[in-house]
């Protein structure tokens, strides 16, 4: 038995016929070939699959794809600029060496973008608390925290600039 699901992913309307048990993370990876969304666990604990669903950071392994019917989903592949320029949060991760093996990175970045939107003036303690749902085994979080603080500052700058502009 298959069901049809339609949603918007990274600005494009998509439709897929899927096994009803298909998770949103599987739909993105297997049907849409957006392999930047990673699956690191099966209990909703690691956060590697974090995407934005209608603007909120969610774990794509914790949702059935059918639950995203009609939704607007953004993945790591959808946050660069029109010509591939890095999002300020991506750029901050590179600048501050906030990634090593890269596997947790897409989920970290997606969560960090929401974090920066919710807490434009976040301090280290807030960042550490808000990253609680994302596991990294490589960095010890030290440089991720630095990157998120810097990325959040850059995001609020560009928001201010665009408001001024």
């Amino acid at each position: 038995m298959t069901v049809s699901v339609s949603l918007t992913v990274n600005g494009k309307a998509v439709t897929a016929d899927i096994d009803p048990r298909t998770l949103l993370a599987q739909l993105l990876r297997e049907n849409l070939h957006l392999t930047g969304t990673h699956i690191g666990c099966d209990t909703g604990q690691c956060g590697a699959c974090t995407v934005h669903l209608n603007g909120r950071a969610v774990k794509a392994c914790n949702l059935l794809a059918v639950q995203a019917h009609g939704a607007n989903v953004t993945t790591i592949e959808g946050i660069c600029g029109a010509h591939g320029e890095l999002h300020p949060m991506q750029a901050a991760f590179r600048e501050h060496h906030g990634l090593q093996c890269g596997f947790c990175t897409p989920g970290m970045v997606m969560n960090a973008i929401e974090l920066a939107q919710k807490h434009p003036n976040a301090n280290e303690a807030t960042v550490r608390a808000e990253l609680d749902g994302n596991l990294c085994r490589c960095t010890g979080y030290h440089n991720i925290v630095k990157a998120v603080l810097a990325g959040a500052a850059d995001m609020s700058k560009s928001v201010n600039n665009s408001v001024k502009g």
């Binding site: 991760f93 960042v127 085994r137 490589c138």
Partner: protein, 786 residues
């Protein structure tokens, strides 16, 4: 960014793809017409298999094939090999019972592979696996190392009646016993080095493809050493010709040791890909990773340090029982022996050391190398003993360390290693300064005024990296060489591809190695790309483990670069009409000193590929050189870690307030990357000390910490920001003067944390992980004793 690149924190080349979702991890690779594999695993720790009924499962929708141990036996598929032979105290080889890829009549741990189901979709494979009927005759299990040799303990393997693979020893027992007999003070500790589950965030995965067209295989696998994987899989298990198997380890999401080994799953699906004549993909789900990836540590140890009345170390005596798990994993036998006992001198002049290791089988997941592999266990022994001795003798811990510190190099230890260089005082002094040890007592008092307990702990570690020379390792039991291979390919238009047998799974080799190559050749770093992880493209390789990549793999590249430059001089000599002995090479330019004559290396490379004006009678065209490098000694990174904790006595909650690490890794190529490696190692070491602990139910052998809800991984709010710095004494025996930095954080830190907690609590010892509950209980039992 301008040359010289070495020493600069160049941003990583690999980041662009990782940050944009463009990485290619094994699960991101798919083949046309691929099938999906699911492994049925044992729910029991120990059981005989009476029968396996497959008929219902075979009839399930989408099933392409189901295989069990009987199929592998009929096809004469071998068992998984162990790569290091340990010879026991009686001169006998270790007991090496077979490690079948799929159970042969018996399962020996929860998660042991019983059957593989291959189907059109993963869901269909799982559905069919649920229809397999296995009739188990459940047997008693033994899970703790300390219980494995007790009379009446469950016996895992035929021919190993005491569950003991080997009893092994290193050092001069008589001299040690004599020193203990005359010692003024003896410090004794008994502890468990807790079992850890590595948990790289990318689960293991493999995609095996078979081609009938030329009887060849292509295997993508999340692995740290693709050539070793291929060698072991083809020669020892599947009996395939090596040249017909290409192993690709693409982007790999962390390893920490757990992806060194040849595992059953990738071996079985490679074999099965030919049977079903379809590509087969297997991706481990995290719940299975807990049961299927080799675990780490798990030692039970009694350790003693003998001192004279002034605190001079006289001797050390260590007895360890190491848990091997149910089978010998690929390098399991070397970890609690060669990589452990040899490190017990630490940074000290202890004249006599004796260590005896008993390695036992239990009904648990196999144990093998995990970040540090033997060296964290050794450092924990040494640094807990030293700190405890200092407290018992009322000497400051720093002073006792200085008093016994090695200051003359080279230094031959009583446990086989010869340290080439170091400056232990320099790292200790800098760490004490950065940690503001001088201000600690004031901070302790302020904390006490707030009702909190503060403690400070040191750990001054040594490690041995870049496992070396092949002939000596061979004499010690290694069944493989320990060199590395590299190739430097100058392209006609001046860019360079570097092929390395080292493998990067987070370490940033694509950047660091390019910095080295760009400086040596005098070309822009943007013009250098580093290729790794593919037996089809790289001459050979031993891969990445034991912090060896730059020290060994980088040295192989340096040798190849020397050959490039030597050939370039000959080409330049021809072009400049000079003798090659008169040619000087500097900053990318070949010149004849004292003249205006010069050619850039780009011009020389072009001439090598378009050899119109070229000494064809004497020199081959092309500019492409390979080298193998076999190190002459280990490298010896060392450093000083200082941990400051604050404990809430009402809850036992322990917070690491400051963690300072000052390390000597020799020359540093990219400080940003080195610091990142230290941060990650510290997190794993602090994780071991405070949070992580693998727990089995002793009666049933069930893994109780089998998910991220039960196994406490360090999270961002469990850790502080770290203070890290380096001091440099260059390695004396490799061309880059580098020592390796990947494991140091995990090696030094557990002892520093526990030394800080015991200081805060005023107790001699506390078990790892020192969770809030453990700390609280320790405080309660202490106050009861009063």
């Amino acid at each position: 960014m301008n040359a010289p690149y070495i020493g600069q924190s160049i941003k990583r080349k690999e980041d662009q793809r990782f940050l944009t979702g463009g990485g290619t991890y094994t699960d991101d690779v798919s083949a046309v017409n691929q099938t999906h594999a699911y492994f049925l695993r044992s729910p029991h720790a120990h059981a005989n298999i009476r029968s396996i009924r497959l008929d219902q499962a075979r009839a399930a929708p989408g099933v392409v094939g189901i295989f069990t141990g009987a199929d592998l036996a009929a096809a004469k598929v071998g068992t998984l090999p162990c790569g290091w032979l340990i010879t026991d105290v009686n001169g006998q080889p270790m007991k090496e019972p077979p490690h079948p890829c799929l159970a042969q009549g018996k399962v020996r741990h929860v998660g042991d592979q019983v059957a593989v189901v291959i189907a059109e979709t993963l869901n269909q494979a799982k559905d069919a696996a649920a229809l397999i009927e296995v009739d188990y005759d459940v047997l008693p299990a033994v899970v703790n190392a300390a219980d494995a040799r007790k009379p009446g303990a469950a016996v895992l393997h035929d021919g190993v009646p005491d569950n003991t693979s080997y009893v092994w020893a290193l050092g001069a027992k008589d001299a040690v016993d004599k020193a203990f007999a005359t010692a003024k003070h003896v410090t004794t500790l008994e502890f468990i080095n807790n079992r850890l589950i590595p948990n790289a965030i990318e689960p293991r995965a493999a995609l095996a493809q078979y081609s009938r067209a030329d009887d060849s295989y292509t295997v993508h696998v999340a692995n740290q050493n693709p050539h070793v994987e291929r060698l072991l899989m083809t020669a020892f298990v599947l009996g395939l010709p090596e040249h017909k198997v290409r192993v690709i380890a693409p982007d790999v999401g962390g390893g920490f040791g757990s992806k060194i080994f040849l595992y059953a799953e990738e071996t079985v699906i490679t074999w099965a890909a030919k049977q079903v004549n379809r590509p087969v993909k297997w991706v481990c789900e995290r719940s299975d990773s807990f049961l299927a990836d080799a675990h780490g540590r798990d030692h039970v140890t009694k350790a003693e340090l003998a001192l004279d009345k002034n605190g001079t170390f006289l001797a050390m005596r260590v007895q360890t029982t190491a848990n091997l798990g149910a089978y010998l994993s690929t390098f399991a036998s070397s970890v609690p022996t060669i990589l452990y006992a040899t490190l017990l001198a630490g940074q000290y002049t202890t004249p006599a050391i004796y260590c005896e290791v008993t390695a036992v089988f239990t009904n648990t997941v196999p144990v093998d190398a995990y970040r540090g592999a033997g060296r964290p266990e050794a450092t924990y022994v040494v640094e807990r003993l030293v700190e405890t001795a200092a407290r018992e003798m009322n000497i400051s811990p720093a002073e006792l360390r200085r008093k016994n510190s090695i200051t003359q190099f080279p230094y031959q230890t009583p446990v086989a290693l010869c340290y080439d260089t170091g400056n232990y005082e320099a790292t200790l002094a800098q760490a004490m300064k950065l940690a503001d040890v001088a201000g600690f007592e004031a901070r302790r008092k302020q904390a006490a005024d707030r009702g909190k307990l503060r403690g400070l702990g040191y750990s001054t570690y040594i490690e041995a990296c870049g496992l070396a020379p092949s002939n000596i390792a061979g004499a010690l039991g290694a069944r493989a060489g320990l060199y590395e291979a590299g190739e430097v390919r100058f392209h006609p238009t001046g860019t360079v591809s570097v092929f390395t047998g080292s493998h990067s799974h987070g370490q940033g080799h694509e950047t660091t190695f390019a910095q080295v190559v760009a400086d040596k050749l005098g070309i822009p770093v943007e013009n250098v790309d580093v290729v790794h992880g593919d037996t089809g493209r790289i001459p050979f390789g031993m891969g990445t483990y034991g912090s060896r990549s730059l020290a060994v793999g980088g040295s192989a590249i340096m040798k190849a670069l020397d050959k490039i430059i030597a050939k370039g001089k000959k080409i330049a000599a021809h072009l400049l009409e000079a003798s090659d002995t008169d040619i000087e090479f500097k900053d990318g330019v070949f010149s004849v000193p004292g003249t205006e004559k010069k050619k850039t290396i780009g011009e020389v490379a072009f001439a090598a590929y378009v050899p119109h004006n070229y000494p064809l009678d004497k020199l081959e065209p092309g500019l492409n050189e390979q080298a193998f490098y076999d190190p002459t000694n280990f490298t010896y990174p060392a450093g000083s870690h200082i941990c400051e904790v604050e404990i809430d006595p009402d809850t036992g909650a322990t917070k690491v307030i400051n963690f300072t690490a000052v390390d000597d890794f020799g020359n540093v190529i990219n400080p940003m990357i080195v610091e990142g490696q230290v941060h990650g190692g510290l997190a794993q070491g602090i994780g071991q000390a405070l949070l992580e602990g693998c727990v089995y139910d002793a009666a049933s052998g069930q893994l109780l910490t089998g998910s991220y809800m039960d196994y406490a991984m360090p999270r961002a709010d469990d850790l502080p920001s770290f203070t890290v710095d380096t001091r440099v004494t260059a390695c004396t025996h490799n061309p880059l003067g580098v020592k390796g930095c990947g494991e140091a954080g995990a090696i030094g830190s557990p002892a520093a944390v526990i030394n800080a907690i015991t200081d805060a609590l005023g107790v001699k010892d506390i078990a790892m992980p020192a969770t809030a509950q453990t700390v609280w209980r320790t405080l309660q039992s202490k106050s009861k004793k009063k």
